[in-house]
Symmetry: C2
Subunit: 356 residues, 2 copies
């Protein structure tokens, strides 16, 4: 049977930025999920037009990003740089599409909801500009777990340190780590000042070597020494949770991991917490896996979490000085829940409510 | 001239655990520093006895750890497992030596001072058991900077996340990372659940792979889910700073870095702080290098700090929600200031006050 035959009357989905690291994962997720779509149109830069990519077991030709590319599109998921989204998302909306945008261009626009389906699904319904924003991967890698704990205990403060994977910088980040690894493996580097830096040479999209190193800077510099990535964690957590005055301090650090962001989280609540109470909440929370039995060696690590959908939480401890504070270690695949999966979840929810 | 000729009447120093990762660095530091010692006696397990190691440009034969090995020793620096220190440090004291111990055996003993010469030098003079303890490498990698800020602003709380190098687990940790790197370099591992774990196989002294991964557990499990390493940061910071009620929450994480621990620190003070004020304190603090100009790409990373003596501090930011809180990123070579250098500094200070 021709699969297209059963798709008549279903919404058309456009994927803008189909050839990137997130786009690739997104096509994989669309192929795994229940097929609710009519056409899936793949859009990318003119440079990539004509390439064929697999989705739903079919080869689909990539078309160039033009106004006409949005003809007949009901939903468009964008994963492109901020400036491309800023220019083209309104074009897609003008052609009648609802846009789900994974860039930073619209996230803090008061007329654009910032949505995590497990946390604030209803926000997706109020979209005055026709755009729904998908949060930054670092925020997304923890917010499902934090949202569940907030609903139970009332969040008042977050202190977050990240261990961010190189694929947060796209395929260029993955390539950079692999090239750097090839230069340091089998050596005795890492014991003298600058030896790794000299061996690595070009650091690619990162401001310092990521092989045999950690780099305490991600994104661009904003005011007062904060990086853009750190302010995203702050501003987006506040908006998603509906807590405009939430105290948030983040330090964002790149580590030599391919995919899956980790975060060490110190979370203070309005109410007293217990480890048992937090375990109960996390074990029942949709989209969360509790993995917390250190006596059995069970805590999440990126190597175990990569390629999976949920937010994994372990190392739950109550502060020894503050009965209202918890420590957590959280891992989430930054390309799946941290980007592509959350966007697909939003798209599926919007599609279910489209007039047929 | 025979160098030994000028050494008459000077104190004899014993290095117990001379062949380990810290011992090797310690002999290097003794060779670089001003030569204040008479004999330097190298002591290790019977298995290593008879090996020759270079110190002060001379080959010195390692002797086995026995009671007689401490004959005539004035100071003994121990870098051996807890149980070896617990047994042998009192033996050395009984033979008349002052012991500087780098294990965890005595650190929290109220009759043993825990000393960081830049922070609490006077504590070294009161040593009822004849033992001075050297702090854990994670605590030491930040405490000089924190101590300077405490002296200026009055510390009330620390929330710390570590990025700990594999050499914190000794030469076995270094060997494990290098073997694991050899197995993952040149592959496309790190994208599927468990692919790194399968490729790495034996994880050596770590509970999970450290190549292409971060491991949120270091040390052993204690009560309520805390690791021994996390409680060391808490208990030792309190003792060194003389703040028995200091609030401390630490999450200790191993990263694929050979040497140099990093820490993201959220520090609350009794008084209001400014970035400019903190910069002034840190720039003037002995043993600290301020490296904080992110616009110029200047912040400490392990690859740049390894092999150096100071505590490097960057990414200084004031909390956007709390005028009494600072965020810092701190790096320190865990084998030098984090272990061997601090022990040598203590030994030199004690030697200067020995009756001649």
């Amino acid at each position: 049977m021709n699969p297209a035959a059963g798709r008549a009357g279903r919404p058309t989905l456009a994927v803008v930025g189909a050839t990137g690291a997130v786009g690739t994962v997104l096509l994989g997720i669309l192929s795994e999920h229940a097929d609710i779509w009519g056409e899936i149109r793949l859009i990318a830069s003119p440079r990539s037009a004509g390439r064929k990519l697999a989705v739903r077991g079919e080869q689909v030709e990539v078309v160039a990003l033009t106004e006409d590319a949005f003809d007949g599109v009901h939903l468009a998921v964008f994963d492109v740089p901020d400036e491309v989204s800023a220019r083209w998302a309104p074009v897609a909306v003008g052609k009648g599409a609802v846009v789900i945008d994974n860039s930073g261009a619209f996230r803090m626009d008061p007329d654009v909801p910032l949505v995590v389906p497990e946390v604030n699904p209803h926000a997706a319904r109020v979209r005055p500009r026709g755009i729904i924003a998908n949060p930054n991967c670092t925020t997304l890698s923890m917010i499902v777990a934090i949202g569940a704990l907030h609903a139970a205990f009332g969040l008042s403060e977050l202190v977050v340190s990240s261990y961010q994977a190189v694929s947060g910088a796209g395929q260029a980040g993955i390539d950079a780590l692999r090239e750097q690894h090839a230069r340091v493996a089998g050596t005795d580097l890492g014991t003298q000042p600058g030896d790794v830096r000299r061996a690595v040479g070009d650091t690619g999209p990162f401001p310092a070597p990521v092989a045999l190193n950690v780099v305490p800077f991600a994104g661009s510099l904003t005011e007062d020494g904060w990086s853009s990535e750190e302010l995203k964690v702050r501003n987006e957590s506040r908006k998603i949770l509906g807590l405009p005055h939430l105290k948030v301090s983040a330090t964002c650090v790149r580590v030599p991991v391919v995919t899956t962001h980790s975060l060490a989280v110190h979370a203070r609540f309005e109410n007293e917490v217990t480890v048992a109470g937090a375990h109960e909440i996390l074990a029942a929370a949709p989209g969360v896996v509790l993995c917390d039995d250190p006596a059995a060696g069970e805590y999440p690590t990126p190597a175990d979490v990569v390629g999976t959908d949920p937010t994994w939480v372990g190392r739950v401890r109550r502060s020894l000085d503050d009965p209202c504070a918890l420590e957590l270690f959280v891992c989430g695949d930054n390309l799946r829940k941290g980007a592509a999966l959350n966007a697909v979840q939003i798209a599926e929810a919007v599609a279910a409510e489209l007039p047929s």
